[in-house]
């Protein structure tokens, strides 16, 4: 029973943490002037 509760807690924790960990800057594009 305790193992089941622990597994459930880990699963719920991963669901909360995973999306936040995926937050990021994916791409940057610049238009520049004066480049030779």
């Amino acid at each position: 029973m305790n193992r089941k509760k622990l597994a459930l807690l880990i699963l719920l924790g991963a669901m909360v943490v995973a999306p936040a960990a995926q937050a990021q800057i994916k791409h940057i594009e610049m238009r520049v002037e004066g480049m030779t």
Binding site: V16, A20, A23, K26, M30, R31, V32
Partner: protein, 133 residues
Amino acid sequence: MKQHLGRQSGVQSVEVSLIDGKVNVTPKEDGRIDPGQLLKAVYDSGVSVAEMEVTARGKIIKDSSGNLALQTDPNRSFVFAPNEASKGLEPLAGSPTIVTVRGQLYKKPTEKKQKPDASAPLKLLILEVQKKE
């Protein structure tokens, strides 16, 4: 400029197109890159930035001043320049929803006398909301 940008922290690769004057920067996998630092690096290499666009994903938050912002990592967030798209994201503030947006982070001032300030706080003008998860 390419080498200078490539040395900045968080940069995976840099592609420069001389034909259309575009510079594409791919961040490393953790996505922890500082666009303001890149802007400064470009200026330091003697080239001026006309426009900078980013594609980023993160949570919608309200900062300490009550401004709506995109939090891309625990220590970094970009305040939105208000427009219709940012208004549409307001209900998601504080929710766990992850949003992917494409937006303009910098545009060179149009007035010739106005000197560009690369160190000024960058505001994100949302051009497109790509995904909500």
